[in-house]
């Protein structure tokens, strides 16, 4: 199934839910990136905490396992001084068969201001936003649909890296570093919510996006996404300024779409030989967790072109910016 969001475009996420990046304008994305720059500085202080969301309660509901997204969201909320209710699904009533709606109602009854939701079903975050319209909903990954904060932090990491190389202050560059930037996304596009969010962010910001992967792992509607499809993977690697690798998601049944993992590595893995085709200044990204030796060679993952660790460390400031903007009031100025 394909998930293409359409319709309204938000100019800012101030006071809004963050469900999908497809509905955000370029200005809305740049605003998040700029505010995140301020939070990078906050994260370098001795006291890495500001009182912006003091007294707010944020529920962190992860119905699917996660390490970095959950940790960085909860760290972000705490650094903004919000109280965090964290539900460990494995030891909760969800295991007794409680429905999503009832779980949300229970958490809401405790008095919450925002929900960070990860769920295996596409559209779960939007569903929850209808159950609790007075609560801000931040999508932390819903099935194969979207993972908006990953798209934002990937865009943030690219902008930060390119700006630093050129000696620019990245918060003054807006979207200009993305104009004409050639970004190649490789792997399981079909099952990847990261790919959908990345593509939406990169295209809004003005980049050219190409996808590569086994035909069985490309959605049929890929042409409607405004991206091109690589005919020749090696050529595409030479073309790219940025290569974003995706994880082979065995839990979403990717295994049955490729004959063997070895064959995937042989045709689409970023091996050392293939990495040698990249432009010297090209960047290599991966949203984690990596299957080392399958979609990316260990040496490439730890090599000089990889900015994978930066993606992880940028998770906190970008998620702080999202929480801060989303939970801010819309009231008139004084």
């Amino acid at each position: 199934m394909d998930w293409i969001d359409g319709g309204s475009v938000m100019q800012s996420i101030r006071g809004q839910n963050l469900l999908s990046l497809s509905e955000l304008s370029k200005e809305a994305i740049v605003e998040v990136l700029d505010i995140a720059e301020s939070f990078v500085e906050v994260n370098q202080r001795t006291i890495k905490k500001v009182p912006a969301l003091k007294g707010k309660v944020v529920a962190s509901l992860f119905f699917e396992e996660s390490t970095r997204t959950r940790l960085s969201f909860e760290t972000a909320a705490k650094r903004l001084s919000a109280d965090v209710l964290s539900l460990a699904i494995a030891s909760s009533s969800v295991k007794k068969g409680e429905s999503l709606r009832d779980t949300i109602a229970t958490v809401d009854a405790l008095g919450i201001d925002a929900v960070i939701l990860r769920h295996a079903s596409s559209g779960a975050a939007e569903q929850v936003s209808r159950y609790v319209p007075h609560v801000r909903v931040i999508n932390a990954g819903d099935g194969q649909h979207q993972h908006p904060t990953q798209g934002l932090l990937d865009a943030f990491t690219i902008r930060q890296t390119l700006a630093a190389r050129r000696g620019l202050n990245s918060s003054e560059t807006g979207a200009e570093l993305f104009v004409g930037l050639k970004i190649l996304i490789v792997g399981d596009i079909r099952h990847s919510r990261v790919a959908r969010s990345d593509i939406a962010a990169y295209r809004s910001l003005g980049a050219e996006v190409m996808v590569a992967g086994p035909p069985t792992l490309l959605p049929q509607s890929v042409a409607q996404w405004g991206v091109t499809h690589a005919e020749n993977f090696e050529e595409a690697l030479r073309w790219a300024d940025v290569v974003g690798l995706l994880r082979l998601q065995r839990e979403r049944g990717t295994g049955s779409f490729v004959p063997t993992l070895n064959e995937y590595t042989a045709t689409y893995g970023l091996t050392e030989e293939r990495a040698a085709l990249l432009k010297p200044e090209a960047l290599v990204m991966h949203p984690g967790p990596m299957n080392r030796g399958i979609e990316i060679d260990s040496k490439v993952a730890d090599g000089p072109q990889a900015i994978i660790e930066r993606q992880v460390s940028n998770g906190v400031p970008v998620r702080m910016a999202v929480l801060y903007l989303s939970m801010a009031g819309l009231g008139g100025s004084k």
């Binding site: 301020s38 906050v42 001795t46 009182p51 912006a52 004084k334």
Partner: protein, 189 residues
């Protein structure tokens, strides 16, 4: 800035429309010189002094005060920049401000900190700044220097060094820069 020039506030979608000039650039410069002398007079020595200018309006005043103190006393005083957006208590009521750079060049532990801002109004920005400062240490003393005090305080906060006292009404707006001070109103764009 000429009289009819609009100053935009992107966060609120409002723009400043200047009605009249209250101080010229020269008046502002004279006031800053006097404030620099008052700072030296009050503190005796410039050692342990740190200027912390509030973003964004206070930044230029902080720079100019730093230059004047160095000209008058021949001693460099460190200048920090502080953005208090994340320390405000009115996130619910007003649009999110666009945050700016914060750089505090030195520990503030046991220092004499002089907060510098353009306009003192309700005192909420200064309250947020006091809150923020404590994250960089415990200053010995904190003093406040503002170019314009326009009244209408909502908190028990009082400036130590004032460029100009300007009684205003609540619905008026004041813009103070090193090039001059204007009174006017905020209008929707």
């Amino acid at each position: 800035m000429n009289q009819n020039q609009l100053r935009q506030d992107h966060a609120s979608g409002l723009a400043f429309f200047a009605k009249s000039e209250l101080l010229s650039g020269q008046d502002v410069e004279r006031a800053l010189k006097r404030m620099a002398h008052e700072i030296i007079e009050k503190n005796g020595t410039l050692e342990d002094l740190v200027l912390v200018a509030l973003q964004r309006g206070g930044a230029k005043f902080g720079e100019r005060l730093q230059e004047l103190l160095s000209e008058i006393a021949g001693l460099g005083v460190p200048l920090g920049l502080l953005d208090v957006s994340f320390y405000r208590d009115d996130l619910e009521q007003r649009p999110v401000p666009n945050s700016a750079e914060t750089t505090i060049p030195t520990s503030l532990e046991d220092k004499t900190v002089i907060l510098v801002d353009d306009v003192l109004f309700t005192g909420r920005t200064v309250r947020a700044a006091l809150n923020a400062l404590s994250d960089w240490g415990r200053p010995h003393v904190v003093q406040l220097a503002v170019m314009v005090d326009r009244g209408h305080r909502e908190l028990p906060i009082r400036p130590d060094f004032i460029g100009k006292n300007l009684p205003t009404s609540m619905d008026e707006a004041i813009v103070a820069t090193v090039e001059g001070v204007w009174i006017g109103s905020m209008v929707a764009q």
